[in-house]
Subunit: 134 residues, 4 copies
């Protein structure tokens, strides 16, 4: 996996990296069980303080996306969602409204947005029916 940090971005480094890992997992480019670079290695590679990398890994572990095996490294966790259906639904709705707001201001038409969502969704790895979710 290639991760990239833009130091000129107003988005904090740890958020940039966190987003990239989240997306890589969602696309299936990082499969469950895959090992991520060690804190120290990624720190050297991105020229970022090890604490910052560790923070990203810790946060993603608390989100249930990664898991740490002490002494061995950090790995992609099996997907699971422990949140209520209601909460999950609400979060999704917020994201959708945010997308639509942006789309209107960018001057797109509704059908263009829907079309793009359909296209891009093919590049993501959607949960199978056996997925553990409420």
């Amino acid at each position: 996996m290639e991760f990239q940090i833009d130091p000129t971005s107003r988005l904090p480094i740890y958020r940039q990296l966190r987003n990239q890992i989240r997306e890589a997992v969602a696309r299936g480019r990082l499969q469950p069980g895959a090992r991520l670079p060690s804190v120290r290695e990624l720190s050297r590679r991105l020229v970022v303080n090890p604490n910052t990398i560790a923070r990203v890994y810790t946060e993603l572990e608390r989100e249930g996306i990664l898991h740490t095996r002490p002494g061995l490294g950090v790995f992609v966790a099996e997907p699971k969602s422990e949140l209520t259906r209601k909460v999950r639904r609400e979060r999704l709705r917020e994201q959708v409204d945010q997308l639509l707001t942006e789309a209107v201001h960018l001057g797109f038409a509704a059908h263009e947005v829907i079309q793009l969502v359909k296209e891009r969704s093919e590049q993501f790895q959607w949960p199978t029916s056996s997925r553990k979710s409420p």
Copy 2:
């Protein structure tokens, strides 16, 4: 227009207000030419520092969403996007990928996301200009 500040949100006040105005415009609840409350009035109504309100108006003016007519007030601007099609398309794609990433981690299926986008899009006011689909 009723704006609401949620003090329990981790989102800064000025971002909450900015988002609400952006969304109100995108939904057509604030039409081009509509006058917004004065900085002083909104400041009183929301119990928020006037500097914070002024900052929001300034930022939205820089984005081309609002327009200040000195001595008269702040108004919703005519929609226009000075960005090239390529840049706008790229921004939309980023937003879509972000939505899809979130959706996967929340455990939704692709068709559920598409369905929700369709539903919610009916509540927004899409441009009527001569813009064509890609």
Copy 3:
């Protein structure tokens, strides 16, 4: 609120503090809306690095127990649980089994444990029926 750190404990400082805040909230000694000491103040009081205090506050915010109002301080959040009933049940069961294991090894009888749970439970602030939980 009086918080106390035992530097000789094998439990990390941030965990000690985190547990104390969690318990204070659960007992109702810290009510929703109450303001906690600022990072810097608590840092001085406990002679602990500000980063360590900030870490505790951040973690408890992500657990939904505290919330931060930038520039104003950190406050106790309204109680809510976004987890599935199943997950919550499972977590409780684990805690109970852990307690019972400990009790057996300490040489207590079952009725003594149950009696103590009843007694101590009166000192905690249990959710009301209107509590938002799945």
Copy 4:
């Protein structure tokens, strides 16, 4: 006895195994006098470093739960607690408060916790000694 190591757990291996043995003894699934697998054998079975197994046995021996008879193997010790009633009581109280704190934050009611403690307690093997209730 079947012991299981969950490599996805954030709990160190030696803690997982230690907890499982403690719990098995408390439930009576490992009776006093029972022989545990040798370090070497358990190491092979769980695919875990022998040092890690040895560490667990050593710790549990220090706790008085296991007893090593050189050349013969490791055995479950007779239950005894050398702690004063006061210390034991205090430890139990801490565990109970920890459970109740967790329960409140998970959104349970007091009677639900008490009910679960009663239910689960039937699966444990309580001391039959002459100890009396307080």
